[in-house]
Every structure is written in C-alpha cells, then in structure tokens.
C-alpha cells in the first residue's frame, strides 16, 4: 500500500476516522508521517495526531474563526484551545464546556457520535463537597510540611488555620 501523500514509499502508518460523516483513511510512509507530525516512538499516542488530523480534513477556517479559536481559554485550568490542539490533552473537566462549540464535532469525528449511552451515573452532591475537601486537606498538609521544612513559619501558621477550617467542615459534613 503506497503512501497517500508522496505516492512513492510503502505506507507504514495507518489512520482511520469518520470526518464530516464520511469514512476516511490515511496511509502514510514514515517520512511523510514525520513531516505531518507523527513521531514513531514508544508512547506516541493517537491523540497527539488528532489536532493535525482534524485540520487535514476540516474546511479551511476563515481568519476570524481561527483567531477566536486561539483566544478561547478554559477558566478552570487556563489552557487555551490552541494548546489543546497541540497536545491533544484537555486540562480539566471544565474544558469540555469552555470549548463546547468544538467538543461536540470533535467527539463526533472520533467516535461517530457524541451521545453517551453507557452506565447510569448520578454524582451525589453530598460527596462532591466532601471529596473536594479531602483532596484540599491533604494538599494543604503537604504544603504545611514544606513550609515547616523551609522554616517559613508565617506561611505555616496560615496553612494551619486553613487546615483547621477544613477539618471542622469535614467533621460536620
């Protein structure tokens, strides 16, 4: 099978996906793959390729569109849309709503649909707060340890107060 780009070399990298409701396959040789950003190394993930891949087939965006995409920032973790496109990784669950305009079409490209039909899951509100506090608690304890090690006693005192507050909340929860 020949590479779809140079049509000369034997293809060794194969990608397949649904794009704009059409099944699309791309076969690349190692050289063209590398040019398109595919690096053959342990740990290479399909996700690294997603952004390039979708750019391959998406209709060319107008400049205004591109600008607004680039300037999108997730308020939860501070990741920008263009950072996500580069790494293929979202920074937090908020990113899904922050980039919502692009998430549904992207999920449809990857999975053929964006509608979940798996196990029923009901997050329980009372656990939500409790979980978060527990994580915050151990995080603050580690920070306290660090500041004691560095002999930053003022900071340590503040941390101790915060920890005491959380402990109280955890007890009443």
């Amino acid at each position: 099978m020949l590479c779809n780009i140079c049509n000369k070399n034997e293809a060794t990298i194969f990608f397949k996906g649904v794009f704009n409701k059409q099944m699309l396959k791309i076969n690349l040789c190692e050289e063209c793959g590398r040019k398109k950003g595919v690096e053959i190394k342990p740990g290479f993930a399909l996700e690294e390729f997603i952004s390039n891949f979708s750019a391959f087939n998406a209709p060319a965006p107008c400049h205004k569109d591109l600008k607004s995409k680039k300037s999108l920032i997730c308020p939860g973790c501070g990741i920008t849309y263009s950072e996500f496109r580069q790494s293929g990784k979202l920074g937090c669950s908020n990113c899904y709503s922050a980039f919502s305009t692009y998430m549904t079409p992207l999920l449809e490209k990857i999975h053929g649909t964006s509608r979940y039909t798996g196990k029923k899951y009901k997050p329980s509100r009372q656990f939500e707060e409790h979980d978060y506090l527990k994580i915050k608690y151990s995080q603050l304890k580690k920070e306290l340890e660090n500041s004691l090690k560095k002999e930053q006693y003022e900071q340590a005192a503040q941390l101790r107060d915060k920890i005491r507050d959380i402990k109280k909340k955890l007890k009443t929860a």
């Binding site: 997603i50 053929g112 649909t113 964006s114 979940y116 329980s124 994580i135 151990s138 580690k142």
Partner: protein, 347 residues
C-alpha cells in the same frame, strides 16, 4: 531495586499456548473539579492519590492491595511493573507529579494513578476473558462511584483528558500471537479490515510500539455512543474472528509449501537459543515465540514447554535485573539472558 520478589512470581496473565495471550479492560476516571494530571500541581496529584488510598479498604477486591508511590521506585522497578503490564510506558517514565500504582496480590486488578487521567482501573487475565473481567471491574467502579465523585457530563459521559477516551472511558484489549497471519502476509489486510470496524492494532508494548515476535495488541478505538456491554460483545466477536483467521492460516501453512519454511524458522530459532552466548530482548522474543509453533507444525523438539510462554516476557531487562538483583549494563545483560534461557528451556 525493591521489587525482586514480584519479579520471581509467574506473570499471572500469560496464557500457556493459544492465540490470545491475555485480555485487559480498563476504565478512565477523573475526580470532579480537580485538574487532570497534565495540569494538576504535585500537591493536587498527591491529593488525588490520597483520595483513592483512603477508600480502598472499603473495596473488597482492593482491600489487601499494595500501594506504590512510584517516586520511591527506581527505573528498574518501574520497568518491571511495565513488563508485568501493571503500568503503562507513560506512567513508568513519568518524572514529575505523583504517579502511583495500586494492585491486588494476584495482579488481576490494578489502578494506575495520575497517568493521563487521575485513575485508570484495569483488570488483566489469561486468554479471552473480557466479559468476566468486565463484571469484576464494573463492580469496583460502582463502589468507587459511591465514594468518590467523578467528572461526568450528561451528554458526553465520563470526562477524560484525551477526547479519544471520553464517554465510557472503556478500552478493551487483547494481546494476540499471530505468526501464521504474519507469515502469509495477511497482517496488512487484517489491520485495515479491523480499522474499518473501529479496532486499533498496536505493537508489543501497546500504543506507539512495534510488533515483536508476531505479538500484536488489538483494542477498541471508540468509547462513546455504545454501552459498555455492547462495546465488549462487539470486541470479543471480532477477536474470535481473528482467532479463526489465524487458525485457518496455520492450517494453510501446515498443508502447503510454506510448511518447510516455517519449520526452518522454528529450527533456526531452536538452534540459536541452544547455542547463543549473548542475545538481546528483541531477538530472544522473536525466537522464543517461534518455538511456540512446534506443536502446530507437529515438530518434535526437546525443550521445557511449560517455561516457554513466561520466558517471552521475563527475559526483558526489568525482570532479568530484578531476578539477578543487580544492575547489569547491556552487554552483560545479553550474556546473562542467553544463559538464563538455556537454563530454563533446556535443563
């Protein structure tokens, strides 16, 4: 090196004989409101680790599990865990944050902590047994769901760092030994056929790796839009079809002109393994997997058959160095490996 004892245990998921070596199923989960590991601070990651460590005593399957903070373990230990498929390459090589591993004593159930997602629950077992693994993993997931709050979206399902895992967060995979399909040059056709059915084919170490010893990893590429049971049933059916194709290719080889060539390959592998004085992992895996075919080809070669399937995996650098309890540089390792194989296979 702290995990010498683990290295001396048989790898529980290695199937003796058969096309399907092992099956694995995993679920990706993240704690709500905490950034994913790629954006979480070390302290936040430590919090994620503590959160699950705090609840495992309440989960029957993980009650006596071992908990490892990987920052306390060196490269060789991490390499060993990777060779036993308890951690991924990514987690084994993670130099920052708070990577962790929780696994039960029979190594069937494990949780990778702070890899790409906060938690990757996984179950590995011998042969084709995904449905069985799923029942167990789903029960653990349900218990965790009651105790921790996972990032979930009404429309998209479970939210993960990479959108390729969004939805069920489920990935089912099998490690397949496909020497006959490889020899009849049918792999290319098979791979493109499987891709059409949303099944990915990868190499020996999974994502991003090359096939070694005609061992391939196949997995579902889609995790959204179907229920977990549908995904699993569909995947199992496809794997069963691949097994059938492999058997047909084996029959074709044993009856046709390719038989002599296959026998030649097996005999050469036997010759090298009996006489080599230094051998690297890659070459050893290639020859050891050839010996797995002696029965299929009706050949009578004398070696310890019960050692063979394990050897394919335990001659890798992590296991060898842990078993020898010393750091061996590459040349010394290759010499030790050749001797180790001779002792185990031909003594």
């Amino acid at each position: 090196m702290k995990l010498n004892n683990l290295a001396t245990n048989r790898i529980p998921w290695v199937n003796d004989n058969g096309t399907v070596i092992s099956s694995r199923i995993r679920l990706a989960r993240n704690i709500s409101k905490v950034p994913f590991p790629c954006k979480a601070s070390k302290n936040e990651q430590a919090g994620v680790f503590d959160a699950i460590v705090g609840v495992i005593p309440e989960i029957i399957e993980l009650r006596n599990a071992q908990v490892l903070r990987l920052n306390d373990y060196d490269k060789i230990d991490r390499r060993l865990l990777m060779e036993r498929h308890l951690v991924s390459y990514d987690l084994a090589s993670k130099a920052t944050g708070e990577p962790g591993l929780i696994f039960n004593s029979n190594e069937e159930v494990s949780v990778m902590v702070n890899e790409e997602d906060h938690y990757r629950l996984q179950s590995i077992s011998q042969g084709l047994s995904i449905a069985h693994s799923w029942n167990m993993l789903s029960a653990i997931d349900d218990s965790l769901n009651e105790k921790l709050n996972f990032a979930f979206h009404e429309r998209y399902g479970f939210l993960t760092s990479c959108p390729t895992n969004t939805g069920t967060g489920l990935r089912a995979s099998c490690l397949l030994h496909l020497p006959a399909l490889a020899m009849t040059e049918s792999m290319e056709k098979l791979v493109s056929g499987l891709l059409k059915m949303n099944i990915s084919v990868r190499g020996f170490y999974g994502e991003g790796s090359q096939p070694l010893g005609d061992i391939f990893q196949v997995s579902n590429a889609v995790s959204l839009g179907k229920s977990e049971t549908e995904l699993i049933e569909n995947f199992e059916k496809i794997v069963e079809t691949v097994i059938k194709y492999e058997q047909e290719a084996k029959n074709k080889i044993s009856m046709g002109t390719l038989k002599a060539r296959m026998e030649d390959r097996i005999s050469r592998a036997y010759g090298i393994l009996t006489h080599a004085r230094a051998i690297d992992s890659e070459e050893a895996i290639g020859h050891l997997t050839k010996l797995k075919l002696t029965d299929d080809m009706g050949m009578n070669l004398s070696f310890n058959r019960d050692q063979l399937d394990q050897l394919v995996f335990i001659i890798q650098p992590g296991h060898l160095q842990e078993m020898e309890n010393s750091i061996l540089e590459e040349t010394r390792r290759d010499i030790y490996r050749a001797e180790f194989i001779r002792k185990r296979l031909f003594n």
